[in-house]
């Protein structure tokens, strides 16, 4: 989970499954969601590779 700032007052939670709230944030929300998914995928792949290597 990651937190992005919508504006000075409010923050928005970014979760891997996404949300309508994130889509409503527009480009910023979309990019943050995709970045998190990319990051999680990368970590997952790393873990799988580590497992295979062991």
């Amino acid at each position: 989970m990651k937190v992005i700032k919508k504006n000075k007052q409010t923050e928005y939670i970014v979760q891997p499954e996404g949300s309508l709230g994130l889509l409503a944030l527009g480009a910023v929300g979309l990019k943050a969601w995709r970045k998190l998914r990319f990051e999680l995928n990368r970590q997952q792949k790393c873990k799988e590779e580590e497992k295979q290597n062991k």
Binding site: K6, N7, Q15, E17, G18, L20, L23, L25, G26, A27
Partner: protein, 845 residues
């Protein structure tokens, strides 16, 4: 002109409707819009006919109707394939708001506008309506249509902001469909439709927000088609449950429409935040969407049938420091958006635009100057080069000719069929634009051409019949009805309505009423039929029945301005002036440009003694239609009452002078109420009478009847009225309401005890006076009520009641009142000499 707004954000929500929004605002589910509503101006916005989105959004962006802007439908001929393609912006024949801003060096971003493909080379960024459309599986290469983005260099950046429907997860779907897990998606594809609509909306939104954050702009327009698409796919499941929807489907999909609006409110919140406080915000929809019992259960199998689900009122909400706050706006049209936004930028709108500046929304009075046109001015308007621009119908004809000549390969049977269908629809849509603009001649030409193209399409003769009704060409209407009766699949009840309207137009109201009643047995749910029924009852002066049917129409559709207007007239004639005013207000609240409803509002207010407001109502009538001179007659009456004499008075006098043919004094009453005596009095007092010697004096009227024979024929022949100008003529009560409205009348109405009148009449006819004919007395009482109604509704009528007995026994008092009424034109001393009490022979003891 002074620039009022630094920046303007125009948000298009296709098909958004206050009927769905209001309950959501009330329950706090659309907080972003609520903030705008509370601090801005809101109102209904009238759509245009036909309510087809590409035509409407182009009207919003140009301030012009489709006959001027040239976008006539969803598809158009494709000069390359010889078949059809989605409508392109190159078919637009005039400049848009952003083109005009471009000329003034202002930067615009336009996202998703329909149609806007290929993107125009504007000073800013344009992302066309092809940009977000997805037709490939997730994970596969998703190309972007050429020309979707201008400048092309932005394509790569923006391309990655598109969201594929399959990228969405349950987190996006569950707010719309909480029971989504129960759905077998192999069989039920509705979740896929929901995902597609939502993803496309999110793509448009992502691009819009990106451009707002990362580019400099003065004007930003972003168009979302998603509310319309949620509506067409899911409105049938929206509460209350429709009878043809299964319980299971209702439970699964009942939240989708509401979810769609909430999602748009969330996106709106972000747009407002990015726009900043000094930006004027305009939210507009092109039409509404039926969400209640008026939702059609089935759509007919005709082209563009889904448009039947469109309600004629969309939404308008505007907020800026220079605009009024928490106010309602009435009478806005889609055509007004461009002139109003140009005014916010301090740029003149043009006279060739069909819309107007919404001056009433500004806090201060604003001076609006109009230039002739923006079309012929040389300069950089950011449009496509001339060689790329096409005239849809001309290019269709040229294309067909080339195919026929063999220069272009025959596109094949299916393609040719599609092409012919497209041409037919474009022409039909154009005919509807002409008709709604009042250009009946052009409409007829097009419809006749269409009928030759396709004799089986019954929309054409039906619309032709409407045209001929407007032209009062009842022979042709009859001919069409006969033609339609010979065709299969025509609902005879609709033809009865059509025939009834034609009969009403020929003043054959009883026959029309019979047909309307017959049709009503088969089509009891149609408000338009109840309105025709109500109009027939009004013509027959059966006001209570009229009231009942207009109320029935309103039970079916409480937003029917015509039903409210009919109800207002019925209340007026029944003397319920407050109800009449309220109904008329409802009518104009729904349809502001409705001069007849304003007229009857004025009449109701006058009768309530609210003269100032009545004056405002009649002024509006004249502003909307200067041919409704009766409004000027009312205004003169009101000015006289209030002692006003200004430039407006002079204007109204001029209008009325050209309209009015003369001034006639009328002596009226029921037979044997003393009208002959009054004629003698006026003659003795020095007034000129219009009489002839046809009816001689007799024992009943030893001094004569003072009648004029032509009066008896008043219902058919009014040509003799010119002879009565400046004179006195006797007209019985029953005929008063047939007097035309282009004379001023001073009516001296004789009142006498009803018993005395009836007995005197019985004696005159040599009948027994043992039995008092109650039925005749009751009919006479009704006649007197009708006279009073006529008096109330005709501004050109001044009326005084003179009591027969009082005239005989309080002569001075009666004659003084009479003389005052006539403007002191009679010699009372001479007049009083002819009053003979000996002729008072039938007395109530």
């Amino acid at each position: 002109m002074k620039r009022l707004a630094k920046k303007v954000l125009l948000i298009g929500w296709d098909a958004a409707d206050w009927k769905v929004i209001n309950p959501l605002l009330d329950s706090g589910k659309m907080p972003a819009l609520e903030k705008l509503v509370n601090t801005g101006v809101i109102g209904n916005i009238a759509t245009l006919d036909p309510p087809l989105s590409p035509m409407l959004w182009t009207s919003i962006a140009t301030g012009k109707k489709a006959n001027k802007h040239g976008i006539l439908g969803f598809v158009e001929p494709d000069p390359i394939s010889g078949s059809i393609r989605p409508v392109n912006v190159t078919s637009r024949k005039c400049r848009t708001l952003w083109n005009i801003l471009n000329y003034h060096g202002l930067k615009s971003n336009v996202v998703g506008w329909w149609p806007s493909h290929p993107a125009e080379p504007i000073n800013g960024v344009m992302v066309s309506n092809f940009f977000s459309k997805c037709s490939v599986s997730y994970g596969k290469r998703w190309p972007i249509s050429d020309g979707s983005v201008y400048p092309a260099a932005m394509t790569w950046t923006l391309k990655n902001l598109r969201i594929h429907p399959q990228e969405l997860t349950s987190a996006h779907i569950l707010p719309f469909v909480p029971l989504a897990a129960q759905i077998d998606q192999e069989k039920d594809h509705r979740l896929a439709i929901l995902a597609k609509i939502t993803a496309e909306a999110a793509s448009i939104h992502a691009v819009a927000t990106y451009l707002m954050e990362n580019t400099e702009w003065d004007f930003m327009a972003v168009y979302y088609d998603s509310i319309d698409h949620y509506g067409h796919a899911f409105m049938k499941y929206h509460p209350p449950k429709m009878s043809n929807v299964s319980e299971e489907d209702f439970e699964l999909y009942k939240n989708v429409v509401e979810g769609g609006y909430i999602f748009h409110d969330m996106m709106l919140d972000r747009l407002i935040q990015l726009a900043g406080d000094d930006t004027a915000i305009v939210i507009v929809s092109d039409h509404g969407f039926y969400s209640d019992h008026l939702r059609p259960e089935n759509l007919p199998r005709i082209p563009a049938a889904p448009a039947i689900e469109h309600r004629p009122y969309g939404i308008l909400c505007m907020k800026h420091d220079t605009l009024k706050k928490d106010e309602r706006i009435y009478g806005a049209s889609l055509l007004d958006i461009t002139p109003t936004i140009l005014t916010l930028f301090g740029i003149e709108p043009a006279k060739d635009m069909d819309g107007k500046v919404l001056t009433g929304i500004f806090q201060d009075n604003i001076a609006t100057n109009y230039i002739e046109s923006w079309e012929n001015i040389e300069g950089d308007f950011g449009t496509h080069p001339a060689h790329l621009q096409e005239d849809t119908l001309n290019s269709a004809a040229a294309l067909k000719q080339l195919v026929d000549l063999g220069y272009i390969e025959d596109p094949g049977e299916d393609n040719t069929k599609a092409l012919n269908m497209a041409i037919k629809e474009l022409k039909y849509n154009l005919s509807r634009v002409y008709f709604s603009s009042g250009n009946v001649g052009q409409t007829i030409l097009l419809l006749e051409e269409l009928q030759l193209m396709d004799n089986n399409d019954l929309r054409f003769p039906l619309d032709l019949a409407k045209c001929y009704l407007q032209k009062a060409d009842y022979k042709k209407v009859k001919h069409i009805i006969q033609f339609l009766k010979s065709r299969d699949g025509v609902n005879l009840s609709y033809l009865e309505i059509l025939e009834g309207i034609a009969l009403s137009g020929q003043n054959k109201i009883h026959a029309a009423l019979r047909l309307f009643k017959k049709a009503n047995e088969c089509l009891p749910e149609i408000p338009a039929l109840h309105i025709e029924l109500g109009k027939a009852y009004l013509s027959l002066e059966r006001f209570q029945e009229a009231l009942n049917v207009f109320n029935t129409a309103l039970e079916k559709d409480d937003e029917n301005a015509f039903a409210w207007h009919g109800l207002s007239i019925a209340h007026l004639r029944l003397g319920n002036f407050e109800d009449a005013a309220e109904s008329a207000l409802n009518a104009v609240g729904l349809l502001y440009h409705f001069p007849y409803a304003h007229y009857h509002l004025g009449e109701a207010l006058y009768n309530m003694g609210r003269f100032k407001e009545a004056m405002q109502a009649f002024e509006l009538v004249l502003n909307m239609n200067s041919k409704l001179v009766k409004a000027a007659v009312w205004l003169l009456k009101l000015h006289e009452k209030a002692g006003i004499n200004n430039s407006k008075t002079i204007y109204y006098k001029e209008l009325v002078k050209d309209y009015m043919k003369g001034n006639i004094t009328i002596v009226s009453g029921l037979p044997r109420s003393g009208t002959s005596m009054m004629m003698q009095i006026l003659q003795a007092g020095g007034m000129k009478l219009l009489t002839d010697a046809v009816r001689k004096a007799d024992d009943n009227n030893p001094r004569g009847y003072f009648e004029y024979e032509m009066v008896k024929n008043l219902t058919k022949d009014q040509s003799w009225l010119n002879k009565a100008d400046g004179k006195v003529v006797k007209i019985i009560a029953q005929l008063l309401r047939f007097l035309p409205s282009d004379f001023n009348y001073k009516v001296i109405f004789m009142r006498r005890d009803m018993y005395e009148i009836i007995v005197s009449q019985q004696k005159m006819l040599g009948r027994s006076i043992d039995k008092y004919p109650l039925s005749i007395a009751s009919a006479y009482e009704k006649e007197l009520e009708k006279v009073e109604i006529w008096h109330q509704k005709e501004p050109n009528v001044d009326l005084i009641y003179i009591d027969y007995k009082e005239l005989l026994f309080s002569q001075q008092k009666s004659l003084t009142a009479l003389n005052e009424f006539l403007g002191h034109t009679i010699n009372i001393e001479e007049a009083v000499k002819v009053i003979d009490r000996n002729l008072y022979r039938t007395k109530l003891i």
